[in-house]
């Protein structure tokens, strides 16, 4: 993958490191460089800390590259939240020195340049024994023609816990955007004591030009070929998709609740899809779980998650949990 000097520049980097000092979480590191901004409010609950991860301007521009390192110390419970949906604006090549490029896999055509300025966010997290991370941001919204890559890697000690929410909306409905971004690529990888237990990779790609070029080169009868489906066709009728991963002792009660709820569902033949859907699947022989959800309205998905994770109130505190899913 080609890139400019962006790899080595410290633009958009952040470092969070916390430890427990007699039931109070203390940050030995809480630093960031523009355009990344970190904010930690005072928290009443013992052993719990909150950090808001934001970007100046409230959004990310094509080519922005943000790197965050997080170290959750022993017995700490850290909530990583955002303030508002992460907005990703369209690619604008060559604006910043740190601009990252990606060579498009398709042949360059007049309408699609061979280099796309990609917005990249990466997070590398270490979670110590008996500690927990709750990554519960607002969803990502990629605007028309935006290209976004997100890589999140989590290294957990054996007794650590994680609740990780990764979700995306279809764009600005007021502007008629309906899954009109160029590309969304998100990787979430979880290791327990060095062993990989889950690797979720979601690629939502609108460069259907690739498929078109390939189809035209084959000799079959073109008139009977099915129309090529766009991203919006594949994701309809939902405008919000979410993935929630739970693992570790602090998540057991929530997972048990979810399993009980799930078991009560029985589907009879429907004429049309429901407005909200969710699925539950075990991970690593049942030591963890993954929830996937989709909703016609993002608000419905948010409300569902708020209730589904209500069990976290006893883990992080009622006032602290109230700050999530605002």
């Amino acid at each position: 993958m080609s890139s400019t000097a962006g790899e080595d520049i410290t633009v958009g980097t952040g470092h969070i490191s916390c430890d427990l000092h007699s039931s109070t979480v203390v940050f030995s590191k809480l630093s960031s460089s523009y355009p990344l901004k970190l904010l930690s409010p005072r928290v009443a609950e013992h052993g719990v800390a909150i950090v808001y991860v934001m970007s100046y301007g409230g959004g990310l521009v094509g080519g922005d590259c943000m790197q965050l390192i997080v170290e959750v110390g022993k017995e700490c419970k850290l909530l990583l939240l955002s303030q508002g949906s992460t907005k990703v604006f369209k690619t604008r090549a060559g604006n910043r020195a740190s601009t990252r490029f990606r060579r498009s896999s398709s042949q360059p055509t007049p309408s699609s340049p061979s280099l796309q300025a990609v917005t990249t966010q990466s997070m590398e997290v270490t979670i110590a024994p008996d500690s927990a991370l709750f990554l519960l941001p607002d969803p990502v919204t990629c605007f028309r023609s935006a290209s976004y890559t997100q890589v999140q890697t989590f290294h957990l000690a054996g007794s650590a816990s994680i609740v990780l929410l990764d979700w995306i909306t279809s764009g600005r409905r007021s502007m008629g955007e309906d899954w009109d971004f160029l590309r969304y690529y998100s990787v979430n990888e979880v290791f327990i004591e060095g062993r990989r237990v889950a690797r979720d990779v979601l690629l939502l790609d609108n460069s259907s030009l690739d498929t078109q070029t390939a189809s035209e080169s084959c000799s079959s009868n073109h008139t009977s070929r099915a129309p090529l489906r766009m991203l919006k066709d594949r994701l309809a009728p939902y405008s919000c998709y979410a993935m929630l991963l739970l693992y570790g002792p602090r998540t057991h009660d929530v997972v048990t609740d979810l399993q009980a709820k799930y078991r009560t569902i029985s589907i009879f033949k429907r004429a049309a899809p429901e407005r909200f859907l969710w699925s539950l699947t075990p991970v690593d022989d049942g030591k963890g779980a993954v929830v996937r959800a989709a909703g016609v309205d993002t608000e419905d998905v948010k409300n569902w998650f708020r209730e589904a994770l209500r069990g976290l109130e006893v883990v992080v505190g009622i006032d602290e949990y109230r700050k999530v899913f605002l």
């Binding site: 993958m1 889950a198 990779v201 049309a272």
Partner: protein
């Protein structure tokens, strides 16, 4: 040597719908898709319900192929290459067996951790071990024939060992990995193996559709020849060079050419298969 005829002969065997792999119990989420009401929402048609379900079926196949090609085909390709490399060593001492097995296990484990879908994994494991058994009991050179060469013997031992590890629950035996192993051992070209993998997936979906009565048997053949063929070819073309990256550069997570899920809706519906009040398929 007429290698074209050899390869064609093997392809004919592998494309047999009577191949004992148990794929007929798997609808790959299609039954769930229909039950959840998704068949009727696609491309409105004035020609009535029949036309709509045919269109809906093709839409499902297109979306399913798109994500399956991107997520599973790289595992077929890498497993194939591992067996190919093993063959190049002419099956010499036991060390080659061990390293080959070790690599296949890593690949298998990666597929397990990347397929966060217990229904799909269930189906994948059942069909995977069936393929290994098929090689052991069907395709491997029978020992009585006498003209079994050293390489064939070595491959048979390798696959038998893998099969035993699956039965002993030391590894999962996922379908894409086993398919790569099987086709690598049989010696058809990688491209043929990739194409057949996706073709069989599409054909299985159409068979499921016929059994679910969403399309008729003639429609199924018509779709397979005219609508589905370019879809399969397009997906092979797009994904044939994608690798899992497991032996090279996994840390370059944002690299372009890695396996990925491209259809989250398909994942949700596939997992929800077991929630259907009544169902005729296992997945």
């Amino acid at each position: 040597m007429d290698t074209d005829f050899d390869e064609t002969y093997i392809l004919l065997l592998l494309a047999d719908s009577n191949l004992p792999t148990g794929s007929f119990v798997a609808s790959s989420g299609f039954e769930s898709y229909g039950t959840h009401g998704f068949l009727s929402i696609s491309s409105a048609s004035s020609a009535g319900k029949g036309r709509a379900t045919i269109t809906g079926t093709v839409d499902f196949i297109q979306d399913s192929l798109h994500t399956y090609a991107r997520s599973a085909l790289p595992f077929v390709s890498d497993a194939y290459r591992i067996v190919d490399a093993f063959k190049d060593l002419k099956g010499k001492p036991e060390i080659e067996h061990d390293t080959t097995i070790k690599k296949l296990l890593e690949l298998d484990e990666l597929y397990e951790t990347m397929t966060l879908n217990h229904v799909a994994k269930r189906a994948s494991k059942a069909q995977g071990v069936a393929l290994l058994t098929l090689y052991a009991k069907g395709f491997a050179c029978p020992s009585g024939l006498g003209d079994e060469d050293h390489l064939s013997k070595s491959l048979a031992i390798l696959i038998d060992r893998l099969k035993l590890m699956v039965r002993g629950e030391e590894t999962h035996g996922h379908l894409p990995v086993c398919w790569g192993v099987l086709t690598g051992a049989l010696g058809i070209s990688l491209l043929r193996a990739q194409h057949l993998f996706l073709f069989l997936h599409a054909r299985s979906l159409l068979s499921s559709a016929v059994r679910l009565n969403t399309i008729g048997p003639y429609s199924s053949q018509q779709l397979l020849l005219h609508s589905v063929r370019p879809l399969v070819e397009a997906e092979v073309s797009q994904n044939k060079d994608i690798r899992t990256g497991i032996f090279v550069d996994m840390h370059h997570n944002d690299a372009d050419n890695r396996p990925a899920t491209t259809w989250p809706l398909g994942e949700i519906l596939a997992v929800r298969h077991d929630l259907q009040h009544s169902r005729i398929f296992n997945s």
